[in-house]
Subunit: 594 residues, 2 copies
């Protein structure tokens, strides 16, 4: 292998000419291209044509049919009135059409956000609208300040563990609806299970039968695919395609069938199932989100509401971005996702739609996958989805009265089962047990103490794990002889962060047997002040019996050491070979003695 | 430079034969040597002799003379009765004599711990005893579980910033005592200053004069050294030595002088100064620490007391260990400090002394320095210090009545001025601005919101800073040609933690121009699962136009990649040269085409 190896920090690898930073930023801000990227509709709308329109309508209607039952179901999880879930499937979608950069992403209420919201809505429904507004503001702020890199600190095992915990918790809270047992549904997995088992004697036969029948039919429908081969007849191909749409709209169809059943039974004067009940349809009340509310006949001001959200409240915007960006990446294919733009889009979605009685919303995995599979071409698909849901919330609310609750619970439980990722446990077990511990902690804390605490516990443990790895930097040692001197060359690689301070001084002490200790710093990038002080004190301590040579130190680190201890300069040596410097020591000493 | 470079993880560098882990631990637990290390008195007591005794008595008495005024002063900072400060200078010291491994460390109440304690004592003095007990338990637990490495995550700038904020806050709260102004002293630096300036019209002349006179005399006494040369007469040498003891006991002497002054004025019927007042001397009440207390006529149980401490309560044991270990290290000289043993010692000190009405205590920097300077030989010095303080608390409490409060305030302010470290600001400014930001945040949050929040904010920012550095791993690139192929070799160094996932995939995409991309993993230590997934997806995405060669991957990382994506095996190559593998590609392709 020939050629010159050039070690360089990554930012200089872009090869961008060195302009003044201010100029670069101002150029970026002023160019029309960058403004168009911030409003992606200006890019795709001019190219829109009739073919796109048809395909977007088909996808929009398919997704809309799923959005209606899911919207109602997630509203029930959060504890808000069902129409709020529907509104949240309408308005954020329209906003996303303007700002969203990823055609597949479908914005709306999600089960996880609804589960996080539930404990605040227990006080008052006003918290749902304020949560949407504040989450929107937080996300926008992160997007504008380009703080997206903070999300990199939430690792895959933590996200996966959080999703699993959320899925378990949401499924557990649906047990109440599925079996129509009494008691509260509980706000954590554990409390939901306790509630379930302590009220298990109140199980209602017909709700249970309907719920379980719904689960089975959804699972069967999902797996039934009409096989089509190249030799199939045209008729069969058409049938297969129709069947495919049928399968994709299975949630809506199942709800439709169960609602019809409940309605017919109602006509015969029977209501064996718990029903969704009256929904206040029509358009929402447009206006700013509530900055004060009434809880138990007391008025709580904005500060009081903020203190109810507390620090845990930040988990909602965090999860909203994480969900949305993860989904955008999953469906972006070979194009890279503009994280900042996604944050702006989701931020605006939440902030603006909080003026239309919406709960927090973000990209939904199931509906995005459906959108993608239905062949959506542009974000305009969201508009058609929104129109369908809007139609339903204005015209069909009387029909929604008859949707059995156990059917909705069943739909949620089936959706949750697809979120649980067991493969990663096997992969982590085989490859990295420490990361498995992080995953397990996230799940365990999430299901027992609450989802917010789960994600925080996971992130903290993960940072400790990563810092522990960094605290034990990679070191290559190399012992050799020059003349009759035993020498050791210690090459330290990577950054020396403060967490490695103790470790580095222990390591240097361990080589106290050899005569000359060479520190090779070619691959040293940064050194924290605490580490530098420890290194200096070990060198000063061992120097009575040993000779230290500091070889090839980068200028910045050399300046730091000389600043901390003046008179350190004589120990620094540079050059490709260390042997001559070690031989030089003998000459110096001889000069000194004679 | 000759010889074979052996890259190895650091744990394998100790050269210890590979025993089973269980056997190693059991060996360690059972050996009498390791038990003796846990009870260091068994090591030094058998060697004790009369010479040691004399030197320990001299040091003990010198330190004791400082411990008396400091004990009273720190009790006033915490808001506990003055005798509690004295008890805390007695009992923890005796316990440390048994368990402590560092002869110089002097355990007792410290200004920072007292400042942290003050807000809890504002409810009830019982919180002081319970805080000592619980801090002791926490520290013991950390010591027994060998979790000392967690302290490495508190970096030098954070500790320094915290100390500075604490010194500023404590000095500010003493303004009230120094000038005898009315109003409360405030619990943060900012509130103390606001209090001071809003009550500045209530300044009392004589307290102010006495306080400022005390400050000046302390500063002058500290700097006055009698010069002794080799030719000095015997008489002069003796005078100089006596003067030295005089200087070391300056705190006690100044208090003595001011107390005499106050007493004489009292005899003449005048009390121009605020005095310490009645101290309930004698022995403390021995018994378990209080697990319930009364606040405002309501009984608070153990759980209630715990919730008053809250999560911020953990800062007390944390600071206690940090102070103590930092001090032990500063005076250990060339011997290394056994962190676990220090934790056990400080843990026992606090836990046991909470049975004798003591507040939390730890190693005190000023008294440890004095102990060292006074020539202490063994931890027995603590016993003599404790005896002197015990004598004073039983016999001298009537005299303590007359100690002017402004004198005590002056002593504290002078002690605090030595804690503020301004040098580090200059060093950080020159060498690392990001660490300066961490330092500044710690100070600013500490003085405005409270010391506990300062240390937490600093630690969190520092972790983010360190993780950000890790998220941009060091990369060396090397472009070369083999035949007519443009090749690039990307060598990644160090661990690839999850925070670098996005960065690594961006970096790989940037090299999409070249024909062959070689990933050199010789210096790669660990790869997190998220990064591995990103690397795989980028490789799969770019592979249609490029050839990827994964060169010299460690077995573990190779297994991880193959586990995540089966059929990845063919891309891995090993060997000292990459050229032959690239030439091999041409042959393969030729075979494929013809």
């Amino acid at each position: 292998m020939s050629g010159v190896i050039c070690s360089e920090h990554i930012t200089s690898m872009i090869g961008r000419p060195r302009e003044s930073r201010l100029r670069r930023i101002s150029k970026k801000v002023c160019s029309s291209e960058s403004w168009r990227r911030r409003l992606p509709i200006t890019i795709w709308l001019p190219k829109y044509n009739i073919d796109y329109l048809i395909r977007d309508i088909i996808a929009g209607v398919t997704v809309g049919l799923t959005s209606i039952p899911q919207g109602i179901a997630y509203a029930i999880i959060a504890g808000v009135p069902p129409q709020v879930g529907l509104y949240s499937s309408i308005f954020p979608g329209v906003v996303y059409m303007l700002f969203g950069s990823c055609k597949d992403v479908t914005v709306g209420p999600t089960a996880i956000l609804a589960a996080l919201l539930a404990k605040y809505v227990a006080y008052s429904v006003d918290f749902a609208y304020l949560a949407a507004f504040l989450s929107g503001c937080c996300i926008l702020l992160l997007g504008v300040l380009q703080l997206g890199f903070l999300l990199d600190f939430i690792s895959k095992p933590v996200i996966s563990g959080f999703t699993t915990a959320a899925a378990l918790q949401i499924a557990a809270t649906q047990l109440k609806g599925l079996f129509r047992i009494s008691g509260s549904s509980g706000h954590t997995f554990v409390s939901a299970l306790i509630n379930f088992f302590s009220n298990i004697t109140t199980v209602q036969l017909w709700d249970t039968v309907l719920g379980i029948a719904t689960i089975i039919s959804l699972l069967v429908l999902k797996r039934l695919v009409l096989p089509v081969s190249a030799t199939s007849s045209h008729c069969r191909v058409v049938t297969a395609r129709i069947w495919q749409y049928f399968v994709r709209a299975r949630n809506a169809l199942v709800v439709f069938a169960c609602t019809i059943l409940a309605y017919i039974l109602h006509l015969y004067g029977r209501t064996p199932f718990a029903l969704t009940g009256k929904i206040h349809g029509g358009l929402p009340h447009f206006g700013p989100p509530p900055f004060s509310t009434r809880v138990a006949n007391e008025t709580i001001g904005f500060e009081g509401m903020l203190s109810v959200f507390g620090a845990e409240g930040f988990v909602m915007p965090l999860v909203a971005i994480l969900e949305s960006i993860a989904i955008a990446k999953a469906f972006a294919g070979s194009t890279s996702v503009d994280g900042s733009q996604e944050m702006l889009a989701i931020g605006f979605c939440n902030m603006l739609s909080s003026f239309c009685q919406c709960m927090p919303s973000t990209g939904s995995f199931t509906r995005t996958a459906l959108n993608h599979a239905s062949g959506v071409v542009t974000p305009a698909g969201s508009l058609f989805k929104a129109s369908l849901v809007l139609l339903s919330v204005t015209l069909l609310t009387d029909a929604f009265y008859f949707i059995p609750r156990s059917t909705l619970a069943a739909i949620i439980m089936v959706a949750m089962s697809s979120l649980i990722d067991l493969k990663i446990i096997k992969q982590l077990w085989r490859n990295c047990k420490l990361q498995l511990m992080v995953y397990t902690s996230t799940v365990v804390v999430g299901v027992s103490a609450g989802l917010e605490y789960g994600i925080v516990a996971g992130a903290v443990l993960d940072v400790i794990r990563a810092m522990y790895i960094v605290a034990r930097p990679n070191v290559t040692t190399h012992t050799f002889k020059v003349g009759n001197r035993d020498c050791v060359c210690i090459a330290i690689v990577g950054p020396l962060s403060y967490a490695s301070a103790e470790h580095v001084s222990r390591m240097l002490r361990r080589h106290a047997r050899t005569n000359v200790i060479v520190l090779d710093a070619r691959h040293l990038t940064t050194v924290d002040i605490g580490v530098a002080e420890n290194v200096i004190s070990v060198i000063l301590e061992l120097e009575s019996n040993h000779t230290f040579l500091l070889w090839n130190f980068p200028d910045k680190i050399r300046a730091l050491l000389e600043d901390l201890h003046t008179g350190f300069g004589s120990r620094f040596v540079t050059g490709p070979s260390i042997d001559q410097h070690i031989l030089g020591l003998d000459i110096e000493r001889r000069d000194h003695v004679y």
